[in-house]
Symmetry: C2
Subunit: 357 residues, 2 copies
Amino acid sequence: MGNYRIAVLPGDGIGKEVTSGAVEVLKAVGIRFGHEFTFEYGLIGGAAIDEAGTPLPEETLRLCRESDAVLLGAVGGPKWDDNPPHLRPEKGLLAIRKQLDLYANLRPVVCYDSLVSASPLKPDLVQDVDFVIVRELTGGIYFGQPSGRVVENGEEKAVDTLLYKKEEIERIVRMAFILARGRKKKVTSVDKANVLSSSRLWREVAEEVAKQFPDVTLEHMLVDNAAMQLIRAPKQFDVIVTENMFGDILSDEASMLSGSLGMLPSASLSASGPSLYEPVHGSAPDIAGMNKANPIAAILSAAMMLRLSFGLTAEAEAVEHAVRQALDQGLRTADLAPSGGRIVSTNEMVEEIKTAV
Amino acid sequence: MGNYRIAVLPGDGIGKEVTSGAVEVLKAVGIRFGHEFTFEYGLIGGAAIDEAGTPLPEETLRLCRESDAVLLGAVGGPKWDDNPPHLRPEKGLLAIRKQLDLYANLRPVVCYDSLVSASPLKPDLVQDVDFVIVRELTGGIYFGQPSGRVVENGEEKAVDTLLYKKEEIERIVRMAFILARGRKKKVTSVDKANVLSSSRLWREVAEEVAKQFPDVTLEHMLVDNAAMQLIRAPKQFDVIVTENMFGDILSDEASMLSGSLGMLPSASLSASGPSLYEPVHGSAPDIAGMNKANPIAAILSAAMMLRLSFGLTAEAEAVEHAVRQALDQGLRTADLAPSGGRIVSTNEMVEEIKTAV
Ligand SMILES: CC(C)[C@H](C(=O)O)[C@@H](O)C(=O)O
Ligand SMILES: CC(C)[C@H](C(=O)O)[C@@H](O)C(=O)O
């Protein structure tokens, strides 16, 4: 019986609908297992720009720091697309990652049996796919300085900086090894060591960390090859660890193995404070407010919160089981239509899952 | 009736076998159409390190500059993996790109009818796929300075620099528009403008260039989304233009649409001198010298040379037709086995194609 304070940041577009679905499921978990979850709401992204003039208000940060975990929806939308860089919704996301020290982004990729046919890949390739991408989230080219525009000798240029400190690499690679220990004991470290200095450091550090995990196998893979292997033979992977930008690209690609981006949860673990949980998908402005969005990625993110922030394993499993059951019963949000079944709304999917918890 | 000087740089591993196949096919074209092709050989990559102590000898560069076009195999292999960075085979590849100003890397992705079932994707998704990736090849994070290791306040760091000048972006985007004009008139510019300064400049320049091509549609796509769309709905693409690293990742991913990396040719067009043609695949040390490699990527690269460097359209079509015919007749190198047919050696495939030219 625990008390848990959860900061909820719905953000923009379908972020609102899917976090509200996840909150309902958490409430059902609270009732069934006798926990008290309190939910406090904060602004982020476009919603925060509109109401507070900045994509990540101080108040939101304070709320998060005082909470046990953060549940985030999604940010962004055409309304803010022409804003200057510092007033763009995504800046809120990047800032909260940095401010809360959310260095380890865990993106599990699982293909549910009943969704095998929703994937663009051949069924035998995706059946039983089960790996996790561990993406470094607070370093690399996302945050390196200098980054900006320069005019030199009348020439216009733009520059970004990919920078990694040894210890930033160490902690994320270590996280990957720890996860692999509880899984199939294989880490694939993805880099571009034949071109990038930062990747050569990455590879060296990965080798060093590996020495402390003799029971886990380490392999290195170049990022271009990894982009290919993810669709050629995805079952070869257990834990993939990589830097920020490569992780961004590879995890969106990998989402297609599970049938839809609407299925993928993520956890962003903090080095020092509360961790954050969010669906991998974006704010999908085209379907926002239409009660069509797939709430499963947000709901599975809440399950990750139960397991990783609160240590509530049985509770997390109950949620995951309820999701599997809803899918097995043939319920499908629109994004999952290619796999047959009955098309339902966001609300209907949430209702079904929370009842089954 | 023309005279053409071709510099052939076989490089390492299967590079030797596949360039030799392409040369045979070019000789057959010469006989059939009455052209004189002369072939002069140069060292690059590991072979050059072994024989000349450097991955790109001056002599090779001179040979290329005096030629009308360059045919390259592949570089690299485990033998040189532990060499210091400046003595690695890939350095030869990067150096020749920079030295010959090969700024525009064209990677056509076509799914041949008889290979539809060789792709890991569902047949209806890849059937009739036909697009080209235009990758910037001499800028970006591959060449930006500073790039290296630093120790600051006892902290070890590594840095790479992603730099683009406005004019570098202009010329590659323009190339994409010119190609789109002769195709389905759609350009997809891929960037990460929500995070990178260089991508925001890229997007601005793309918009500017687009004004000169009112008959061509321009769309922007974020790189993470592009990695997903390439497998979700690849037929939406006509011409994809992107910076060096994104192009590296996306083109290897896209190779899976055509069934095998062994099918993909490329052209690297120079701003000032001879252009270079090479298969997208690597040196595949595991099957080198075994007469098993797929020579088609190299042969189709030679066809691109005929068309783009020599303006020999009918000749290029004859080669492409011969390739299609060999595949339709059921000939398959080992990499294409999943699509049925009869497994043949490199030599048998070359023989069949050159006879059909
Ligand atoms: C919105 C964007 C800044 C973000 C990223 O690139 O990290 C998103 O794509 C993600 O993966 O969470
Ligand atoms: C070998 C390597 C340096 C090269 C690159 O990254 O450009 C290769 O992957 C390619 O795509 O030609």
